[in-house]
Amino acid sequence: MVLKAILIGFITALGYSDYFFGATMVNRPLVLAPLVGLILGDVHTGIIVGASLELIFMGIVSIGSATPPDIVTGSVLGTAFAIISGKGAEVALTLAVPISIIAQLVKMSIYVVRSGINHKADKYAEDGNIKAVERLHYLSFALMTIPMWLLTSISFMLGSKVMTSVLNSIPSVITDGLKVATGFLPALGFALLINMMISKKYAPFFFLGFVLATYLKIPIMGIAILGVIIAILMMSFNGDNKKGVKTND
């Protein structure tokens, strides 16, 4: 149990190491959940849970200055409790959401400490002290990763028994309802993406993708390839247009 808790915490640390290894997306639920499954001996459930969590959290990325809910701890613990209680994806979702919101608070306070580290780094920069500046960079990373590792391990140890009994006492109306809600949540992810990308001029492309998928049943890969073709065509025709009307400028 203790070993498992440490390993589960390690998966959280692995997710956080994404900030050290170049945002390669190892912190996404699609990757973390199967690893949690591997540790708890149920890779299959891990994969399935990872897929549904990814759909929900798809729109949540740390772009710019907003702190999104912490998907790493949410996904890891949500998946772990879902597998232990044997209740599947919908339980993972209901747990992942509140856990990620609580973890976000912890994360915020660590960010405040990191600002302090930045001021310290200013002083070392003034002295031209390379070694010390480098040390602070590593320290900042450890300061986030290790607490999150511990937080996950401890929550897992305390939580798994409690969680299982709590989950067993939830009436089936609610769990069925949550199962239905699981299907809704991707709408939030997509809405966030639409909000990021859409403009009046480009809105038709959203509906083009929609129609190709719903009426013509083209798989996503095919639609992406079509998108590339359309983008190339649009760009080359736009270029010709500009040349044509240049005399008017």
Binding site: Y19, G22, A23, T24, M25, L30, V31, V43, I47, I48, A51, S52, E54, M58, I63, S65, P69, Y111, R114, N118, A121, A125, E126, D127, I130, V133, H137, F141, V173, L178, K179, V180, T182, G183, F184, P186, A187, L188, F190, A191, L192, M197, Y202, F205, F206, G209, V211, A213, T214, Y215, I218, I220, M221, A224, G227, V228, I230, A231, I232, M234
Partner: protein, 273 residues
């Protein structure tokens, strides 16, 4: 990129390779006050070590790169390459305006973030996740593997060659790129592909149906069938746009999450879902 071209200058290929490896850690010390500043300075250190020998020079260089900086991590190496070229110029030329190193950095972080965010976060990640999720829902581990591969092969190529491209071209390429509108074109193209994929996923991955029946003249009609005849995935599309409206209105994501969960449970209790 031949070794020759670089070895005529002070900065060696090996210095740039060191910066390439360090560039992965850009966000390890992210904070909301300075964002990637400390990380950027950390990545530039191999270059400083080659160029600056006195403590004063080193101090100036480190301080220069401690100002707030933020861009898409996957494309940052391109800007680092340009910074390296400018630092080299600075170390060779006493009259070089060292302020310009920072102003070029700041001028680039916005446009590079624009194209980087729309390509890496908005397009490539969404496509990779879409393909990954569609395999993972069937229980295949290939989902996670393909997701990582589809995202990271272009990522690593851009990160590696971007650095050398940035260094080699220095500032000149950027002028011509923005004059020809290449950046804008790429960003527009990425938006088109991204929106089509999101549209497709909205139509196939949001699950929202109703079991309701109405009886017309004794015959019971399934409401879902009527919806399907109007437009397949009408309910998922409406729900997504309703949520989009809320997001646009500035409703907090957490409230929307909870709201959707409550809607699901209540809807099931009443029997409309």
């Amino acid at each position: 990129m031949t070794n020759n071209e670089i070895s005529t200058n002070k900065i060696q290929k090996s210095d740039l390779i060191k910066t390439f490896w360090r560039s992965f850690t850009l966000e390890a010390s992210f904070s909301y006050e300075r964002m990637q500043a400390l990380g950027y300075a950390f990545c530039m250190i191999p270059i400083f070590k080659r160029l600056y020998k006195t403590k004063e020079q080193m101090s100036e260089a480190l301080k220069r790169h401690m100002d707030i900086f933020n861009t898409t991590p996957h494309v940052v190496s391109f800007i680092m390459g340009i910074s390296a070229a400018m630092e080299e110029q600075n170390s060779n030329d006493k009259n070089f305006d060292s302020e310009s190193i920072n102003s070029v950095k700041v001028a680039l972080m916005g446009p590079m973030a624009g194209i980087g965010d729309s390509f890496f976060w908005g397009t490539l990640r969404v496509i990779a996740a879409g393909i990954g999720v569609s395999l993972a829902t069937k229980g295949s581990i290939l989902g996670a593997i393909l997701f990582l591969l589809i995202f990271n092969i272009p990522h690593l190529l851009v990160r590696y060659y971007g650095l050398f491209l940035g260094y080699k071209a220095g500032t000149s390429i950027l002028k011509s790129a923005s004059e020809n509108g290449i950046m804008q074109k790429l960003s527009k193209g990425a938006t088109i592909i991204g929106l089509m994929v999101v549209g497709a996923m909205t139509g196939t991955m949001v699950a929202f149906t109703t079991p309701l029946n109405i009886s017309i003249g004794g015959a019971s009609v399934k409401i879902q069938e009527i919806f399907d005849q109007i437009l397949p995935a009408l309910l998922p599309l409406s729900l997504t746009f309703f949520v989009y409206y809320l997001v646009k209105k500035g409703v907090k994501t957490n409230y929307i999450l909870v709201g959707l969960l409550v809607f699901g449970v209540l809807g099931k209790m009443i029997g409309i879902l």
